[in-house]
Point group: none
Chain length 198, copies 4
DNA sequence: CATGAATGAGGCTTCATTCAT
DNA sequence: TATGAATGAAGCCTCATTCAT
């Protein structure tokens, strides 16, 4: 393949990466409706026209990013389940991933995107996202269920426990985004207590 | 004979009440930017113009409602603190109020309004709201602090414990709004465990 | 006639007078389009509804006032011409009336209304006003013409002289309105020199 | 290949020029409030939206034009003062510039813009414009003052003389705009007599 | 006579999207 | 690939006018 094509492809990928980063941050900070496309292009440092070469609408970019966030969440659970480790260890790893992600810029934005799903007008996609969101709770509930059998987790409805845990992480991500450096994340133990026996 | 002042005042109050109800619901469901004023007016059953007799902008109505939500939150804490009851009892009552509120339409909307503060463009008011939001966590942290002295609460930084608890309630309110009847709120015990000794 | 009716009629006249005064000031200060009817009513201290009892539109009030201003101008010329005095005396009296009027609130507003005719959308009336405005210059030109025959006035086209004089008075009224107390009206002699021999 | 920057700049400048021309004429003819933005756009032959690419509000365009008018006025005085000519010559040149400007479309509109300053709601800018307006009278007063020392100008307060002269020119510009071809401008001598000795 | 709530048309402004280059 | 001028629909807001009381 000629060298030029490769170079173009690289530029392409780089532009897309920057575009997604801008969109992610802006959608997370301001929501879908309050973010306008000119702002995304300006933040990315490209022209409006170029942005439309890559994504044919604001909603398309949003849906891509929201689904990517869900993919990452799903991948994390898959990875946890594929490991031959204790439930306690799984929850600890999950929390470590959360705590690490919240520190990183992009990480927190993905969390926020999952926690606040905006309607795009594309009902099929919107429903799919909500379903994926529920799914991630069921993923955690499965782990909690296992943990109850081994005695590692507290008793109670696994789904209720999982949803409370997820709700707490999402709420905390929101606080972190709003108050930034002024907000100190709680110790992991505070969160693990929701699921794990003392 | 002129229409009596009382009559006018009654009409005003009635319209304002309906307007606030519509605004509350729509802002909570869709956010500030995605809610349009035509929608609020139509939902209220009044003309667009009349809405501007009462509020001079969409943002003004939003700020009013968000501050009202904060008032209610503050009033709840004030009421809890004014009672001569145990910390456990206070937390239980707080949670009961939350659980009850989430069932009621208006109640859940107020919770959502607090949990997701949108920027209105009025920087002074936006900052005030964020400050009030932090304040409500400090209110709970004070109670937790007391509870640690009496041995009713778990150990750990009171603010971290309080924020995790509030984060969980806000996250749950979000789930409830998104999934409605399909979503079963967790048992109160799941939440109280975050703060109270077993 | 019953006493009551008289009383009502008096109130009516009083309200109308206040309404006209408010309209006059606001139209002069801000122009027709920038003045809104709510403002006129508020400035008058009456309700919107009552204002519509007296005038069925903003334009109607404006046209009434503009024509009144023209009436006053015409009356002044008629009065000057009915007197058996010298042309110099006529011009001096005209200027005295102008200087006196500019000091008084209502007076200056009438001058301004004449100098800036706004379009009301009623083409017939608009044209009539413009014609009356031209007429007042012809009135002065007639006096100047007389003065040239008696040698009191400077030579030159009477209409050109008259229009320059009127233009100066109108411009000065505008300055006075804009700068109020900070603006000192020029000495009458400066203006009379435009028309009269030294 | 991207469209060349030069090309874009040329398009911009052309559109801006047409926009300013339309705005100037309409503001001068009808005032700020009575001129609507749709009209400006239509008169320019562009869409409503495009106007907002260049000016973020009607008021911004108005302020730009009014300040440009003031610039031109100031430039004229600067140029007169920089020349080593008699006061009589300066006043004659000023008047020639006025007479010439009034014949040209754009010229008369600039005069009108200066003579009737409308409030834009931007108090700082409004005040600045009024100050500049006063300044132009002081500029002329300075020349009159000089002329009194050389015996070229009539006696009297220089500011009063200047303001009367300016008032007359502004009033005449208003007549010219209102009556157009039907209105014959007076001979320059009529105006110079206000300031210069016979 | 008097009120001001209520309406809706029309004006101002924003913004997603298209397109010629 | 890349640009930003240009559009138009849709949103926000104002305001003259009507009307029940």
């Amino acid at each position: 393949m000629p060298k030029q094509k490769e170079q173009f492809e690289e530029m392409r990928q780089q532009t897309i990466a920057r575009l997604k980063k801008s969109g992610l941050e802006l959608f997370a900070r301001k929501g879908l409706a309050a973010t306008n496309i000119k702002e995304i292009a300006a933040h990315t440092g490209i022209s409006l026209g170029l942005m439309y070469h890559y994504y044919s609408s604001k909603e398309e970019l949003y849906l891509l990013l929201a689904n990517e966030a869900m993919d990452k969440s799903q991948a994390l659970f898959d990875q946890l389940q594929s490991q031959d480790i204790s439930v306690k260890e799984k929850i600890t790893q999950f929390l470590a991933a959360f705590m690490y992600g919240v520190q990183k810029e992009a990480g927190i934005y993905y969390f926020i995107l999952i926690s606040q799903l905006f309607e795009t007008g594309n009902k099929t996609e919107d429903r799919k996202l909500r379903t994926r969101k529920l799914q991630s709770i069921h993923n955690l509930a499965t782990i909690v269920s296992e943990g109850q059998q081994t005695g590692e987790c507290v008793t109670g409805d696994p789904f209720e426990l999982a949803v409370t845990f997820i709700a707490a992480t999402q709420g905390l991500a929101g606080f972190k985004l709003m108050f930034k450096g002024k907000f100190q994340m709680p110790d992991a133990a505070v969160l693990t207590r929701i699921l794990l026996q003392a």
